[in-house]
Symmetry: C2
Subunit: 230 residues, 2 copies
């Protein structure tokens, strides 16, 4: 494949930098706050339900997460929540937004070496403001020829991106941790995809299937890209 | 100027479609909800203060607005707010997101005629998910060669956009209702700008200055663009 590829697109959250761990951490604080009303596992289940129901109207990111936590808290406590706790919930989200960005081990070296041979882009899903702020904190901006923040990562979104980049699907490689968002829609279009799992996956992004496809590869560590692509 | 211009960029909120009126409407509902604690004018002032303090971390859009309303309500009621009211506040925001898009009179004809001679782009500030959803509801997507949703509308953001569009600043014309966001930073870069005021302006976007600049025009109705540009 390395003879063909012209553009390599990287997912950001949990591919270039840690993200899901911060959400898990906020969820734990949230469950603790509601422990008088419900055991933690059930709190998380109720929260996930509210989050998924809010995706069509609110999308992804910490702001939606804050609103979903508040709604879930009202539901879980049956309205008996103290108003101070609402402020605490908002603070959980704001603290998460203020966290530093932790790069995944090896990312900087991989980008630095790949950029000499390929055009690199970042293709991430989520909230514009949050993703831009993480990109700036990450110090990785200069490696990317183009940054694309998508409201969803579905086939139509990738199709638009690839045409905008002026390449054919088989000259495009996507790298990411989510089979559902980074791999399956990309393979459907006839492009290449490499899966690098992160140790934690959000329930909503989990898919069961095992992928067998000639344009698909699976690696355990992002540094293995150098062997495949150089 | 019409001999030079290659790309015309349109602001969206309150330039192509109504937006500020929806926020004003939500603010009225919010002030009503808190009328036991404070007169409406003071509620609005308190809310604006919270909104402005949240822009650096939360950015623009209805989700930030929901969170700011909740925070302002806690402050205004000194924590004595009933938890049901929190749910009502979230609903005010969700209702706003679900509103249909009302095009400003003449927009469709203007875009239709200008697209034959110029490359049209949409350059709007705000929340990715919300702006995409409004664009789809507006039915205007097909008129635009490119859609750019910016986290801020400052000189650096426009500079990047113009270079991405592969034109020189004096081949670029920006049209919008906000002097602060659509006009001043664009003129600073040496590009052209046309101001079309909307009847309502958010306090935060208001500027006092009167602009005199050779690359600046002011019109009262978007349909006047046809006289200037064709």
């Amino acid at each position: 494949m390395k003879e063909q590829i012209k553009v390599i697109a990287f997912d950001a959250d949990d591919t270039l930098w840690e993200n899901e761990t911060y959400f898990r951490n906020s969820e734990e604080k949230f469950a603790m706050l509601l422990s008088d009303f419900m055991p933690p596992h059930d709190v998380n289940r109720a929260l996930l339900r509210v989050e998924i129901s809010n995706i069509p109207s609110l999308g992804y990111g910490v702001k939606s997460f804050i609103i979903s936590m508040i709604e879930a808290a009202m539901e879980i406590s049956d309205g008996r929540l103290h108003t101070d706790d609402i402020q605490r919930i908002i603070q959980i989200g704001k603290d998460q937004l203020a966290k530093p960005v932790h790069l995944i081990d090896g990312v900087q070296e991989v980008l630095n070496r790949l950029q000499r041979k390929y055009r690199l882009v970042m293709a991430t899903k989520g909230d514009l403001k949050e993703q831009e702020s993480k990109l700036i904190k990450s110090g990785l901006e200069a490696y990317f020829h183009h940054i694309e923040i998508l409201s969803e990562k579905k086939e139509a979104n990738y199709k638009k991106l690839i045409s905008h980049l002026d390449v054919k699907p088989d000259q495009f490689l996507m790298i990411g941790n989510s089979l559902k968002s980074d791999i399956i829609p990309v393979l459907e279009l006839g492009a290449y995809a490499v899966h690098v799992p992160f140790h934690t996956t959000w329930e909503y992004e989990k898919v069961e299937s095992k992928i067998e496809h000639e344009k698909f590869s699976h690696i355990e560590d992002i540094k293995e890209l150098l062997e495949i692509l150089l």
